[in-house]
Amino acid sequence: MKFKTFAWFVGPSIFLMLLFIAAPLISVFLQSFYVTQPVFESVEVETCTPGFLEQTCVTEIKTRPILDDAGQMVTQTSYVGLQSYRNVLEPARAWEALSNGNISSLLTIDFWKALRFTLTFTLVTLPLVIIVGLAIAVAVNNASKRIRGPVIFISLLPFIITPVIGALSIRWLFIGDGIMTAFLEWALMRDISMFAQGWTIELLMLFYRVWHVAPFAFVIFYAGLQTVNQDTLESAIIDGASRWERLKFVIIPHLMPLIIFISLIHLMDCYRAFEEIIGFSSQAHRISLQWLTYDLLTPDDSGNRSISRASASAMLTMVGIVILLIPLLRRTWRDHKGA
C-alpha cells in the first residue's frame, strides 16, 4: 500500500485517539502536579435560617471565596510537585505501619485498602474466568447441534446485562431478607447477613464478576475451538489420548494466544473495578482504586471536589495497569518476533 493511502486510512483514528485519549491523559498528568484554589477571605456574616416557629440567626466568622468584578471566583494555581501523590499514597503512615509489621493498620489507609482489594479481585477472577469460559466453550462444542444455538444464547445473557444493573440484581437477591438470603437461612437453619461483613460482600463481588465476564471468554474460546486442527485431534485419539490429554496437549496450546488476549483484556477491565462497589454499596468494607478516584471527584454538599488528588489517583491506577500488563505484553512481543 502506498504511504499516502495508508495515511488516509489510519489518519482519522490517530487523530481521534490523540484528541480523546492522549490529550485528556496529558491534561490529567499535568493537573496532578498543580492545585487550583479559590482565594478565601474571612468575614463576619450573620446568617438567619428557619427554626420551627421563629428564625435562628447566628453571627460567625465565615471563610468565603473572593469574587472579582465580573462575579467569578478568584482562583490561584500553584505547582505542588508530588504533594498530591503523597496525599493519596500517604507514604509516611504506610511506612510506619509496614515497619511495625502491622498489615491491618496499613490496610486502613484508603489507597492501600483499595489496592489490596483491587489486586485480589483482579487476580482471583482471572483464572476463574478463563477456566469457566473454557469449560462452557468445550461443553457447547461437544453439545449436539440441535441445542447448541439456545445454549449459546443463554450462556451469553450475563454478558449482555448492563454491569451496574447486574450487580444491583445480585445485591437485591441477597440484601436484608432477599430471596437468596431467605433461602439460605431456611436451608442452613441460621441467620445470615451477607452485607454485614466484608468477606461475604467480597465473595458476592467475585461471583458477580466471574458470572458477568465468563461469557466473553466463552465466545472467544468457542470461536478458537472451531479452528483446532481436526487431523491432529484424530491422530491424538488414535494414539490413545484421553479427553483430558487431548485438552491439555492439543487444544490449550492451540488456544494459548487467545488465553493471553483474554487475560490482557480482563486485567485491564478488572483493575478498573467500579460497578461492584456502587452496585453492592460496599464502601464501608471494600473500595477499589477506581472508586477512590470517583469519590475524590464527586462534589460534596458544599461543592468541594479534589481534582488534584483525583488526577494523582487516576495516574496511579494507570501505572498499576501497565505494571500488571508487562509480563503478558512481553510474552506477546516474544511470540510476535518468533513468528
Binding site: P38, C48, L53, V58, T63, R64, D110, P299, S302, G303
Partner: protein
Amino acid sequence: MKLKSLALAGAVALLGTGAYADCAMTNTTTVKSLTAGFEAWKAVTDAMAECGMVEAELDQEFREKQPAAFAANPSLYHIGGVANGTLVPLLNQGTIRPLDDLVEKYGAQLTPNQLIRVDGQIMAVAMMVNVQHMMYRSDIFADLGIEAPTTYGDVLAAAEKIKAAGVVDYPLGGTFKTGWNLAQDFVNMYLGHGGEFFGDGNTPSINNENGVAALELMKSLTAYMDPEYLVSDSTYVQQQFQQGKIAMANLWASRAGAMNIAEESQVVDKVTMSIAPSPAEGMRPATTLWWDGIVIAKNISDEEAENAFKVAMEGMDSEMVQANNDAAVWLIPGFEPGPLAAGAAASAAAGAVPYPASSQMGLMHTALGNGISDFMTGAKDAATALADIEAAYLTAAKEAGLVE
C-alpha cells in the same frame, strides 16, 4: 389500544384545563427548575406547573450539577431547590441573586421565618424544615409499657425490652449507610453532646471526649440493629418500618407521611412521632435542623427572574400546602401541624441546632462519611478513627485552600 390512548389523551387534557385554573397568573415564558426529588418538591413543582410553561427537573443527585448549571451564562435553570448545605456552593460562586426587592413586590404572604438571610440580604426562600427525630411503634410501646424515649439511655433500655419480648426482627433502625448518612448521624450525636467541629483557622477539632462519646453511643445502638446497618439509608429504614421489622428509629420528618400510606405500609397509624432523643439528661436533642427552599439564578435577565419568582410563589402558596399537608413540615402559612409534625416541632423547641453548613463542613462531612465505618467494623478504635478523619479533613482542606 386506540380507545385507551384516546381516554388517556382526554384525561391529560382535562388535567390540563382543571389545573390551569388553580394558578393566579398565566405564565408566558419558560421557567426551568432543578430541585431534589422527594415528595414535597413534587408537590411544589406540580403546583408551579399549573401556571404553564414550567419545566421542572426533580433529581436526587441535583447537588452534583447545580453549581455548574447555575454558573453558566445564561444559567441553565431559573429556579433552584436547595437546602442548608447545597446553598453554600451557590453563595460561594455568587450565582444566585438577592431576593429582597422581589420578596417586597410579590412575597407579601411569606412569613419572616421563611426568609433565609445572609449578611442582611434575602438569598433564599424556605418552604419546609426537615429534621431527624424519633419515630416509634406506639402499639408495641403500649404493650410493653414503655414510655416514649427522650434520651439515648431510654432508647437503649427500650431496645433491650423489645429485644427480650421478641416482637420485631430488630428493635432499632438507623440511617447508618456509609457516606453521607453515617456522617450525618455522627454530626447529630456530636452536636447533641455539645461538640464543636472547628477550631481557629478551620482546623478540625473532633478528636475529643465528645467525639469519642458520640462514636461509642452510635456503636452501642448498632447492637440492636439489622447487622447490615452500614448499607441502610433512609429509604431502607422507612421500608423496615413499613414492613413491621423495626420498632423505633431516628428518621427524617419527611419520611413520616410514608408510614400511613396504606398501599405500602403495614403499620398505618401505629407510628408515633416524638422528640429526637438527647445523649443524656440535660443535653440538647441529638439532631440538626434542615430547611429546603428556592433560590433564583443570577445569570438570567431581571424580567426572567421576576417571572420565575412569581411562578415559584404560586408553587409555594397555601392551596398547595392544604392539598399536601402531610407531605412535609411546611413553613408556608396554611399548614396545619398534625401528629406527624409533632416530632419535628418538639425537637426544634428543645433547642436542636441548624446544620452548620459551610465549605469546610462539606469537607468534614465527607471525611466523616468515609472514616467512621472503620470504627464501626472494628478496624480502628474511636480515637484512632477520629484522628484519621481529622487528618483526611486537613489534607482535603489544604488542597481546597481553606487551611494554611
